[in-house]
């Protein structure tokens, strides 16, 4: 079964090829949808089979490499197309194909009637193909192929409705921004990869990590590698300072936001850090950088999320914030907790996006939450599932978000200190607040939409069933990671499962002093209470006393505008980086250096020669006799010269 791992990669590619090449001819949405979803569904089943096969093996033997063929070979640089099956990759594969499959099915309903239906499914399948490469790769270069591939699909899907407007620009602008910002990250990844090759003479995970474990390499090298790889991660996973593309990425269709910009692709950076955990564990300074960047991103994005009015924008900033959490986990050495959060986040964030999509669908493409309200009676399934997701992300037990978030908070406290815990807990509170602001404004209270023109309705089954599936996962997903204080030693299933992968990294990390169970339970209780309080407060403000929200925004107009305008980061980037580059390229490099200086010099040389020639050509009078006189004179001079020299 493990040998079949390549099928999980190949099937989506075949799906892409069929829908991409024959899509316009097939025309039948059902056929296209079934091909697209089927390819991912079968991949999921194969992954599941492999998962159980691995489960049946002893923990130490759960590692396989399936080599397909040699890709790039020059000198001793040898990069195969090879897939690695281990607990981490198979867990990610399950999440990607599982959530991916559900979202594919949902898309059949959501994209119904769109003229680009076939294109949409082709792109989605291509995305799954790239994502599977990223996850299963057994070397950095193949990972990079997936890395860039998902970026491409993200580009294609953000710009899917390429003729539409998006905010002040177009969807194409958002798509290009995503690709280019990702490329900046990729640049960092490339450099990191080169330093790895220079240091270890290999780019295969197995060989590199084996050498890391041997030691003997200075920490500064590890710092450099880890830093450059992390730059790559900040691009792909939307961390400060490269997060700006993700909110704009909401220009794409909602299933895309759910699949790519919430559940899978954006967690690629987290996965990469987890995969190279040994390197990070050898670079403690950079671990700290990762933790701080993650933490800052988390609270920064959460604060922006508080005041946004676009339903998808709120979810987008929430995603940035949650990704920050995951990096916080990576930075404090809680690799398992980070990956656990990747998984639960995939469930509830995909759920929230799909539910939001269902709302948008039912509200005739309206995305402004100020124009929603009281929708729970019109769309009961969407309402219930959205509520489930909101509770899960707020970290209320026993929903899945609680377990993973709490694990991260606990490790930040235990490994990094109280300050980290505090900021993390405040972020959790903010999260609960904006999620329930969103929920209250959308589903409860009075309808603020135009009742004559807008008739909210529940979505078809093909869309609600995926919501229900994800809602169930959001509820129960956390039970595989019950903290050991409740489940007893060795009771944390996901920790046991991932332990072989992170063992080398964990053994390198310094051990911290033990903390008591009491502390853990106390902190847990405090954070849950804070979240619950935030939920209550949000409902109170947005349902009963709307004046509080308004007076708050009037009282602090500067702060409100700063948050609403997202700290003006986009504008700052534009002013400080983008437009100077364009101006310098256009005005200085091209119109001055190229045209005036270099080409000017070339043409000047030519014209100098020409003007010199135009002077001396005057000697050619055209009168033949003048030439004859000159000739005779020449002969006479030559004659006398010869005579004189005799």
């Amino acid at each position: 079964m493990i040998d079949l791992i390549y099928l999980t990669v190949l099937l989506p590619l075949i799906g892409f090829a069929i829908n991409g090449l024959l899509g316009p001819k097939i025309k039948n949405e059902k056929v296209i949808g079934v091909i697209g979803s089927g390819a991912v569904g079968i991949s999921f089943l194969i992954s599941l089979g492999i998962f159980f096969e691995l489960l049946g093996k002893p923990a130490a033997e759960r590692h396989f490499i399936v080599n397909l063929f040699q890709w790039i070979k020059v000198d001793y640089l040898n990069i195969p197309i090879g897939y690695q099956v281990d607990p981490l990759s198979i867990l990610m594969a399950l999440v990607v194909t599982g959530v991916g499959f559900v979202i594919h099915v949902y898309s059949i309903g959501y994209m119904h009637g769109d003229k680009g239906f076939w294109r949409f499914f082709a792109y989605l399948n291509l995305f799954i193909f790239a994502m599977m490469n990223l996850i299963l790769a057994d070397n950095f270069v193949l990972l990079f192929l997936g890395w860039e591939g998902v970026g491409l699909c993200s580009y294609l899907l953000i710009g899917f409705w390429y003729d539409r407007k998006f905010e002040n620009s177009t969807t194409a602008d958002a798509a290009k921004k995503a690709f280019v910002v990702n490329r900046i990250g990729d640049f960092g990844f490339l450099i990191g990869m080169f330093i790895i090759y220079l240091t270890f003479n290999s780019l295969r995970f197995e060989e590199v990590f084996a050498q890391v474990k041997l030691g003997g390499i200075p920490e500064s090298t590890f710092n450099m590698i880890a830093l450059f790889l992390f730059i790559g991660a900040t691009g792909k996973s939307a961390q400060i300072p490269l997060y700006v593309w993700l909110p704009d990425a909401m220009a794409g269709p909602t299933p895309v936001s759910a699949l790519i910009h919430a559940a899978t692709m954006v967690t690629a950076g987290v996965y990469m850090v987890a995969r190279t955990s040994v390197i990070y564990a050898s670079a403690p300074t950079i671990m700290m950088v990762v933790a701080v960047v993650g933490l800052l991103t988390a609270i920064f994005a959460a604060s922006i999320g508080l005041v946004q009015n676009d339903i998808k924008k709120v979810l987008a900033y929430s995603t940035v914030s949650q990704l920050g959490y995951m990096f916080l986990a990576m930075g404090v050495g809680a690799f398992t907790a980070g990956i656990f959060h990747v998984m639960t986040h995939a469930f509830f964030k995909a759920l929230l996006f799909l539910a939001a999509g269902s709302v948008i669908h039912g509200m005739h493409e309206e995305q402004n939450i100020q124009k929603y309200g009281g929708l729970k009676k019109y769309m009961p399934v969407t309402y219930l599932t959205f509520l489930t997701g909101a509770i899960a992300i707020s970290g209320i037990p026993p929903f899945s978000g609680f377990f993973s978030k709490d694990e991260i908070l606990w490790y930040s406290y235990a490994n990094a200190g109280f300050a980290f815990w505090l900021v993390g807990a405040i972020t959790a509170m903010l999260t609960a607040f904006y999620m329930f602001r969103l929920y209250s404004l959308t589903f409860e209270g009075e309808g603020r939409f135009d009742h004559h023109h807008v008739h909210p309705h529940e979505s078809p089954k093909v869309m609600t069933v995926p919501l229900i599936v994800l809602a169930i996962l959001s509820v129960i997903g956390g039970f595989i990671g019950i903290p050991e204080i409740f489940s007893g030693s060795g009771g944390n299933q996901i920790k046991n499962w991932l332990d072989p992968v992170f063992k080398p990294a964990n053994s390198l990390l310094a051990k911290h002093g033990a903390h008591s169970h009491f502390e853990e339970i106390l902190l847990m209780a405090v954070s849950v209470a804070a979240a619950a309080g935030a939920i209550y407060f949000a409902r109170f403000v947005y349902l009963k006393r709307k004046d509080i929200a308004e007076s708050a925004s009037l009282k602090f107009p500067g702060l409100y505008r700063l948050l609403f305008n997202k700290y003006l980061i986009d504008e700052a980037y534009d002013k400080a980086i983008i437009s100077p580059i364009v101006k310098v390229s256009d005005g200085f490099l091209w119109k001055f250096t190229d045209v005036k200086i270099i080409d000017g010099l070339v043409n000047k040389t030519a014209s100098l020669i020409e003007s010199f020639a135009s002077q001396i050509r005057k000697m050619q009078t055209g009168v033949a006799q003048f030439y004859a006189v000159i000739m005779v004179l020449g002969i006479v001079i030559a004659f006398f010269w010869i005579m004189a020299s005799l």
């Binding site: 316009p24 790039i72 070979k73 270069v141 390429y162 450099i191 090759y197």
Partner: protein, 510 residues
């Protein structure tokens, strides 16, 4: 020495085709086109035959196969001497592959003086093949110069509005460099007579003689050669003929110019500059790489702000060829292999981009990006093909561009000659700008609402155009997914060349 006559056919089939074309009546355009296509296809088949009996396992940078030698000017021991190794062969294949596709693309676009055009294309093909397979510097020089003439006419007769300016500029620029090279060739040949006893331009003999020269002399000769090649590449700041020539040339001219002619510059650097003057090459590697890196960034930035599609692609060539030169002067097998594969990539991707620009130009008669907008909905196939080609040029993994750039950068990083990582790091940032300029162009042409009413009437690619593009895309994907086919052709050559140069300079690598 084993002799083989097959390479002669490679040269004389296009020439014979061109001469036979003379007897065709000018009015019968289709017959001329079919005959031209047929001739170039025969040439392609011959080059495939060479490929199939080629042995890529030969180690060495001075080991040639299918050699053929015939005394030409016996007093000066100048001979007609041809042969191929992996490097020549891969470029010959690129030439013979692109020529029929180019001829096919001119089916509709060239309507005046079809006979003359086809004639010049075939002569050009012969000239290009000749440059790649000559093993005698004199013969090489003859082909190098001869090939200018048909190109001059192709730009000058079938070009755009400022074609005369562009063609003269192209001609004089290139000529200027070549003359210094001629002086250096003669100097070398005279010098060789001091050790061999006779004047010779035989490359293999000069390979043995020349590296013994002192560094000062090598420097002069190196720069005399390198200037000529750098103009052809073109290396910053000698690139300004390129945008003009590209913009004014007809599509077919641009494709051949970008696809093959520019590669002659990099080919010359690898074939002549490096092995003939190993010390000077290593001594000045830093400076040349600096120019290459400047070219990478500068070309990309200037491409970004262009308003004319062809000019944009032309400046992107400056950027891509900068990568190639960086790879060459990294003196690592990775860099060398990357540079060679990148030559092919650039030929395919940029050739395809020029063809695509040409296709749309035939329909709308404008190349200004601002005149387009939102045509993705009107011409879906065209936009899909353009996207694939643009992505290959951007260097997306899985397509060809990535393989070349990746190997070049890795080579530059571990280069024993370029002591500083900054070369590679700055060059790597070129991948960001490549995405910016191509995607920005793509967005402005294809996305958004349809900008003008007349754009709604655009017709999508026809069968012939689609065939050309699919053929190119097959190779774009092939190199991206399974580059081994191409890498192994020059694998031994690259390591041999790099090792020999490094050992001459006393540099030891791990």
């Amino acid at each position: 020495m084993e002799t083989s006559t097959i390479l002669n056919y490679l040269l004389f089939v296009p020439l014979a085709g061109a001469l036979l074309l003379m007897v065709f009546p000018s009015a019968n355009k289709n017959a001329i086109r079919y005959f031209g296509l047929f001739t170039s296809l025969v040439t392609f088949i011959i080059s495939l035959l060479v490929y199939y009996s080629f042995d890529s396992g030969v180690y060495g940078f001075d080991k040639f196969q299918f050699e053929f030698k015939y005394s030409w000017i016996s007093d000066l021991s100048i001979s007609y001497y041809v042969g191929v190794d992996g490097l020549s062969l891969i470029l010959v294949l690129l030439t013979t592959f692109l020529t029929p596709l180019t001829l096919l693309s001119t089916w509709n676009s060239i309507q005046i003086k079809v006979k003359e055009f086809t004639f010049f294309m075939l002569v050009l093909e012969m000239g290009m093949i000749g440059v790649f397979i000559s093993l005698d510097l004199f013969l090489f020089y003859v082909f190098w110069e001869a090939m200018l003439i048909p190109m001059y006419f192709i730009i000058g007769i079938w070009g755009g509005e400022r074609r005369i300016y562009a063609s003269v500029k192209f001609f004089i620029y290139t000529m200027f460099g070549s003359l210094l090279m001629l002086v250096a060739i003669i100097w070398l040949a005279v010098y060789a007579s001091s050790s061999t006893g006779y004047f010779t331009t035989n490359l293999l003999e000069l390979y043995k003689v020349s590296p013994a020269l002192g560094l000062d002399i090598q420097t002069y000769l190196f720069f005399a050669f390198a200037l000529s090649f750098a103009i052809k590449v073109p290396l910053f700041p000698l690139h300004t003929w390129l945008p003009d020539a590209h913009v004014e040339a007809p599509t077919a001219g641009s494709v051949i110019l970008a696809g093959v002619l520019l590669k002659m510059g990099t080919y010359g650097l690898v074939r002549f500059c490096l092995p003939l003057f190993p010390q000077a090459s290593v001594e000045y590697a830093g400076w040349i790489s600096l120019l290459a890196v400047i070219g990478v960034i500068y070309g990309a930035l200037v491409a970004m702000v262009q308003k004319d599609m062809k000019k944009l692609v032309a400046y992107s060539s400056v950027s891509h060829l900068g990568f190639v030169v960086l790879g060459i002067f990294a003196f690592t097998p990775e860099g060398m292999q990357g540079a060679i594969i990148q030559m092919i990539n650039h030929g395919l991707s940029t050739g395809a981009l020029f063809l695509l620009v040409g296709f749309i130009y035939e329909r709308t008669h404008t190349r200004q990006i601002a005149d387009y907008g939102g045509i993705a909905a009107v011409v879906p196939v065209y936009s899909a093909v353009m996207l694939i080609v643009a992505l290959s040029s951007i260097g997306l993994p899985g397509l060809n561009g990535f393989i070349g750039e990746f190997l070049i950068l890795i080579g530059a990083f571990k280069s024993p000659v370029l002591s500083n990582w900054m070369y590679a790091i700055v060059a790597a940032s070129g991948v960001i700008f490549a995405a910016v300029y191509l995607l920005w162009m793509y967005q402005r042409i294809f996305f958004g609402p349809v900008k003008k009413l007349e754009l709604r009437g655009l017709t999508d690619m026809n069968g012939k155009e689609l065939f050309i593009m699919v053929t190119l895309i097959i190779f774009i994907v092939w190199i991206g997914v399974y580059p081994t086919t191409f890498l192994q052709m020059t694998d031994k050559y690259s390591s041999a060349l790099v090792n020999s140069i490094l050992s001459v300079n006393g540099i030891i690598i791990r």
